[in-house]
């Protein structure tokens, strides 16, 4: 059990980072518009983020210092400050999007407009950051976020032609009405939604938080090898569910609420409930990650312990 829980950091990083509000909507949008023609982007994103996180984790474990601390030492205070300001800005934008994401997910099952949920969600995030120990945080949001597997189960339940799906994923074809520029634009959009910088900062800070040393390289690697591929499988699951249910009807995805429609079609209310719980956990985890990441980056830049 202890071994299983050691991968919670990777799962939380992947669930909160990979499956944030941007990715949840982008995956469904791309699945409905391009089918499985952009699955390769998710594979690239998983490998890319694994390489970056492995590097950041190893650096943190070997030096007991985080990436920002080392950037300042190697590149000087000015360059590091520019780096800090840019990542802080990205974190702030991400945080606003994720807060709205949690509120939108709660709105799916309540009669309250999402804007009214934002102050409450913000206060909840403040309480969690202030009161909850790091390990409990990563375990709760990592494990609850796994409810998103409802999308993968929905794909299986829909009984697709697996051979055709594999063919579509491995032989990408641009649909009629779209050109190469649109295809590449959405490839970049998806890569940007899946390979977010705060995942790496957060993972690096998590390694320091766990007091991992070079002796814990196995844990670091396990987190990388399990966490991010789980995020990748969930992302492909959402794309595949949209491909099977929304694409045949030519349905364009513009709202988060459309993302869960294929799960309701395949699994009914139970699956719908799992999907919404998973979305709330994933987006709330994605609120926590940039918040912690922002705090960590500032503290590490200035050398505060």
């Amino acid at each position: 059990m202890k071994k299983i829980l050691t991968v919670a950091l990777g799962i939380l990083t992947a669930i909160g980072g990979f499956m944030d509000i941007g990715d949840l909507v982008t995956d469904a949008l791309i699945g409905a518009r391009f089918g499985l023609a952009l699955v390769w982007v998710t594979v690239v994103a998983v490998v890319g983020i694994m390489v970056y996180s492995e590097m950041a984790g190893r650096v943190a474990a070997a030096t007991a210092r985080t990436v920002f601390d080392l950037v300042r030492e190697r590149l000087g205070a000015r360059v590091a400050l520019a780096n800090l300001a840019a990542s802080y800005f990205v974190n702030a934008l991400t945080l606003v999007a994720e807060l709205c994401g949690v509120a939108l997910a709660i709105e799916l099952v309540t009669d309250v407009h999402y804007l009214l949920w934002i102050p409450l969600v913000t206060f909840m995030a403040f309480l969690v950051i202030w009161k909850m120990p790091f390990k409990r945080m990563e375990r709760i949001y990592g494990v609850v976020g796994l409810s998103l597997f409802a999308f993968v189960v929905a794909v299986w339940q829909l009984g697709p032609d697996w051979g055709l799906m594999l063919h579509d994923a491995t032989h990408p074809r641009i649909p009629p009405g779209d050109g190469v520029p649109q295809y590449l634009f959405y490839a970049i959009v998806m890569l940007g939604a899946q390979m977010t910088p705060y995942e790496v900062f957060f993972f690096s800070s998590g390694v320091v938080e766990h007091h991992w040393t070079p002796k814990n390289l196995t844990e670091i690697r396990m987190n990388n090898l399990l966490g991010y591929p789980i995020g990748g499988v969930l992302a492909i699951g959402i794309q595949a569910a949209a491909y099977l249910v929304l694409r045949p009807g030519g349905i364009e995805v513009t709202h988060l609420s459309q993302t869960v429609l294929p799960v309701a079609v395949a699994l009914g209310k139970v699956g719908f409930a799992f999907a919404v719980v998973g979305i709330v956990a994933a987006t709330f985890g994605a609120v926590i990650e940039p918040l912690l990441s922002a705090g960590y980056t500032v503290a590490h830049h200035f050398g505060w312990s």
């Binding site: 799916l108 099952v109 009629p176 009405g177 929304l246 030519g250 513009t254 869960v260 309701a264 719908f272």
Partner: protein, 109 residues
């Protein structure tokens, strides 16, 4: 608009099968109506290039209004909890989709 109509049909089917909570169904239909109205407004504000286009414009706007009106009726029924009536109310949307498809080149349907 074809997307809105088909999505509304799917939502009505989900509601009739009891596969999603009532709140979700009403939210989905309200969002679909919002999109339909936005599409109608966008097409309505386009200046026809020549008087000869007026007939085409009128026919298209009529087809769009038809879908918008039906989605609106579905949203009202859903808010009133009349989920059993949704499938019946959604049925004419199939004809509306066929009507809209006549404005779209076959390769893009």
């Amino acid at each position: 608009m074809v997307s809105v109509a088909r999505e509304t049909l799917l939502t009505a089917e989900v509601a009739a099968a009891g596969a999603a909570p009532a709140r979700y169904v009403t939210l989905r239909l309200a969002e679909a109506e919002e999109r339909a109205n936005s599409i109608i407004q966008t097409f309505g504000s386009v200046q026809p290039p020549a008087p000869s286009s007026d007939r085409l414009r009128a026919a298209l706007l009529d087809a769009l209004d038809d879908v918008g009106g039906r989605v609106e009726r579905l949203r009202i029924a859903a808010y009133r909890g009349e989920h059993a009536a949704l499938t019946r109310l959604a049925r004419p949307l199939r004809e509306a989709v066929a009507r809209l498809n006549r404005f779209i080149p076959p390769a893009l349907r």
